[in-house]
Amino acid sequence: MKNQSIKVLQGKKKHVLETWMKFQLSDESLREDLMSNEELRIQSEELLDAFLTNLKDDTIDDPKSSAFEAVVDILSGISISRAKQGFTPRETGIYIFSLKDALLNILQQEIKDPQELYVQSLKINKLIDSFGVVTFETFIKGREEVILRQTDEISEISTPVIRVWDGILALPIIGTLDSSRTQVVMESLLQEIVETGSSIAILDISGVPAVDSLVAQHLIKTVSATRLMGAECIISGIRPEIAQTVVHLGIDLSQVITKSSLASALRAAFQMLQLTVVKKQRVQSITE
Amino acid sequence: MTIVREIDVIPFRNRLKEIAIKIGMSLVNQTKIITAASELARNMLKYANGGNVTIEVVSKGRENGVRLVFVDEGPGIKDISLAMKDGYSTGKSLGLGLPGTKRLVSEFQIESEVGKGTKVTVTKWKNG
C-alpha cells in the first residue's frame, strides 16, 4: 500500500470516530434540540464506515470515484434532511469539517515522518474538502426545495376565493400581481365560478401596493376571462393614489366596472342580481 | 409528423395532448400549448402548403416540458418583426397567430429565409 494514511486510519477507526464525536459534541453550535447525540453517533459511524471501506490507493486522489458513491449518498441525505430540519449552513459544515480535523489529528499522532505526514494530510484534506462541497450543494438544494414548497403554499393561501353571497364571489388580492400570480388568480377564480355557478366576481385590490400598466393589464385579462365564462367582474378597492396613477399612466379601465370599496362593489352586485337589502322592521313599530 | 392537409392537424393535436398529459402538464398549460400548436400548424398550411412538425419532451433542471419544431419549405417571411406584431397579416386575417402564440408558450424562436422556408420552435414548461 503506497499511502500510509489508509492503513493508519482504517486501523484506528474507533479512535477516529471517538475524536470526531468529541469535536462535534464540543462545538457550541451543536443542536441537541434537533438531533439526539445517539442519532448523531449512528449517522457519523455509518458515514465513517462507508468512507474508510472505500479509501484505497486508487481512490484517495479521486473524490469523484464511483467507490465513494455511497459516501456521497449518505452525505447528501444527511445534508438535505438537515436543511429541511432547519440546521444552519454552519452547523452542517461543522459536521463534515470536524471529520477532517479528526482524521488529520490521528494522522499527526501516527505518522512520524514529517514529509510523509505532509503529503498524506494534503490528500485527506483535498478529499474531505470536495465532500464538503457536495455537502453545501445538497444543503442548498434542500433549502431550495423548502422555498419552492413555501412559494406554492403562499400563492395558494394568498388567493382565497370567498363565496360572499349566493352567486357572488370575492377575491381579495394581497401583494403584487405579477404574471404567474395572475395565472393562479384566474385559474382559481374561474374554477370557482364554474363550481358555484356564480355570475358575479369581485376582485378586491386594496391589498395591492401599486398598480402600474403591467398590473392593470393583468387585471383586464382577468376581467376578460371572467366575462368569457359568462360572469361579470367588478374591481374594488381602488384607492385615490391608484386612481391617480391609472390616469397618469393613461391606462384604460373604461371597460371595467370599478368601485372604491368592497362594500360598494357588493352593493353594485346586489343591484345586478336585482336583490335589495332592507332593514328588519322593529317588532315594536309593527305592534304599535 | 407531416402536416399537408387540414385534417392532419387533429391527430397531431391528439398526440401532443397525450404527451402533455404524460409529463403531468396542468390543464391550462396543455390548452395553451395545443392552441399555440394549432396556430402554427395553420400558418404552415395556409402560407407554405404544409410542412413538418416534431414533438419532443425536454427538461431543464427539475422542470419538464414539450418542444415543438415546425419546419416548412414555403415562401418564408420577409420581415419577421413585422409578422410578430399584433394585427399584421398578409392573409386578410386578424394577425394574431404569431404574437399570440408567443404569449402562450414559455420559449419562442422563429427563423425564416425568403424563398427557402420558415422554422418555428416553441417550448412550454410544465409549470411555465
Binding site: 395565472q183 365564462m229 359568462g230 | 395545443i34 394574431l96 399570440g100 402562450l104
Partner: protein
C-alpha cells in the same frame, strides 16, 4: 360530410359543438346557421361549447362571425359553457371575443336571450312579433 346539428327550440336555435372543430366543419356551421336563422326567423342563437377543449384564432373568429352575422339578421348570439382553461387561453392569445355574449350554462344562456328578446319586444311595442311585458 360530417355536420354540426342545429336544433330549433321555439324562436331560439341551439348548436352543441361536441367534436373537435376543424376548419371546413366550422365554416359549414357558419353558413348553415345563417341560412337557418333566415329560414326560421329565429331571434336568438345559443352555442354550447362546454365540450370544446381548444379554441384557436380561427375558431374564435368563426364564433365572432356568427355573432356579427346573426346581429345583422336581428338575432342575438350567446356562447355558453366555455371551459376555464379555454377562457384563459383566449385572453392570452389576444382574442377576448368582445361583442359576443356569454353565459355559464345553457339555462343561463336561455334566460339571457329571453331577456334580450323581451327587451327588444318592449321597445317596439307595436311590432307584431313583440313580447308584451
Amino acid at each position: 360530410m360530417e355536420k354540426i346539428p342545429i336544433l330549433r327550440m321555439g324562436d331560439l336555435l341551439l348548436v352543441t359543438i361536441q367534436v373537435d372543430l376543424y376548419d371546413r366543419l366550422a365554416e359549414t356551421l357558419e353558413s348553415d346557421l345563417v341560412l337557418m336563422i333566415k329560414k326560421t326567423g329565429a331571434q336568438g342563437v345559443l352555442i354550447d361549447i362546454s365540450a370544446v377543449s381548444i379554441i384557436d384564432s380561427f375558431m374564435g373568429r368563426i364564433i365572432g362571425n356568427i355573432a356579427t352575422m346573426s346581429k345583422i339578421m336581428d338575432a342575438e348570439t350567446v356562447v355558453v359553457g366555455m371551459q376555464p382553461a379555454v377562457a384563459i387561453t383566449l385572453v392570452e392569445l389576444g382574442l377576448p371575443l368582445n361583442g359576443v355574449l356569454s353565459a355559464l350554462n345553457v339555462e343561463r344562456g336561455m334566460e339571457l336571450l329571453k331577456g334580450k328578446i323581451a327587451l327588444k319586444g318592449a321597445s317596439f311595442e307595436d311590432d307584431e312579433d313583440g313580447y308584451p311585458e
